[in-house]
């Protein structure tokens, strides 16, 4: 195990591109296995979260060195906006609905999101200050 970890670190250092793509493939494989399991047995937790929990457990338990995931995970996270774009184009399928109610939908989303963000920020900030005051 130690030898394998050392080799992974060496790869991440000497061949960053090879390391990045092999790590992306590794994450995809873990996700695919979890997704299949979750579908097959109709679990309420989706495969992506299962895969995340599994990877996190692996990191925590030291089975997986963080260096062995870093480049791949960072790439996936950095390009995440790309993966969202095709989902946006579903607009084309709902053009009549959006023409009729789009303005109101946008209003609901804007007002709702502003409320959510303000609430979350204020709550967390209050809790943060409160716990700090208690610590002093």
């Amino acid at each position: 195990m130690k030898k394998l970890h050392a080799r992974m670190r060496w790869l991440a250092w000497r061949k960053p591109h090879v390391a990045r793509w092999s790590q992306v493939v590794l994450i995809v494989l873990v996700w695919f296995a979890c997704d299949q399991l979750s579908r097959r047995f109709h679990w309420p937790v989706p495969g992506s979260l299962l895969a995340m929990a599994l990877l996190l457990l692996g990191l925590m338990a030291g089975v997986m060195p963080a260096a062995g995931l870093r480049r791949g995970a960072d790439w996936l996270l950095a390009e995440m906006l790309l993966f969202f774009i095709p989902a946006v184009m579903a607009v084309w399928q709902h053009l009549p609905l959006l023409r009729e109610q789009g303005g109101r939908i946008l209003l609901v989303i804007l007002a709702g999101t502003a409320l959510v963000m303000a609430t979350t920020a204020v709550l967390v900030d209050l809790m943060f200050r409160w716990s700090r005051r208690r610590a002093h």
């Binding site: 992306v24 996700w31 997704d35 309420p44 989706p46 992506s48 979260l49 895969a51 995340m52 599994l54 990877l55 996190l56 990191l59 925590m60 963080a66 995931l69 870093r70 995970a73 996936l76 996270l77 950095a78 390009e79 995440m80 906006l81 790309l82 993966f83 969202f84 774009i85 095709p86 989902a87 946006v88 184009m89 579903a90 607009v91 084309w92 399928q93 709902h94 939908i105 209003l107 609901v108 989303i109 804007l110 709702g112 999101t113 502003a114 409320l115 959510v116 963000m117 303000a118 609430t119 979350t120 920020a121 204020v122 709550l123 967390v124 900030d125 809790m127 943060f128 200050r129 716990s131």
Partner: protein, 229 residues
Amino acid sequence: MRTEWLSLLWLAITLGGYFALKPLYRRHPRWWTSPLLTVPLLLAAAGLLLGMDYPVYIRDTHWLVLMLGPATAAFALPIFRYRRLIQRHWAALLVGVLGGSAVAIGSAWALASWCGLDDAVRRSLLARSITTPLAMLMSADIGGVPELTALFVVITGVAGIALGELLLRVVPLRSALARGALFGVGAHGAGTAKAYDIGAEEGSVASLAMVLAGLLNVLMAPALAVFLR
């Protein structure tokens, strides 16, 4: 043109547009330069020429959407990296996520009813604050249209990046914790990407808040479905 070639062309335009327009966002990180807005605009312009046919478009590009699964799994790394931060502030995060999610669902329902939107649209709006794969799952559970939800999720993302920027300028938030949680709970993955632009600590808090909010919503969906019947 044959459908297969057209689908491939759409994939090429999507990828090409993304990698061509991303440097613009690098140089001027604003909500209106976000690839989430500029690339769909480019695609819409191309759609006027090639025809706006969603089934043809998604035929080859659905691989990209599938990658959201591994991308969600990749959040394990930032969470691991900032585990100390999370251990120290788990209570604040939990309160923020719980409160934020409650407001997300409550405000969507109340505002949509007030605006007189269709029931299917109203139900599809409830899951809009959480990350796409989970939102589509939750939407199906509570009687929404998953595809519409995916669309609302993305609109929320773009809106959230813009609103978050504005909020940070107006409201003085002292902790990276609050700055990150705001983006994670309010604008899921898109907000998390924005939070990483502000700082690594904000980004990892945002990703954790996003994951927590998503989990909470999905687990609560069956109960919500009974409640909304």
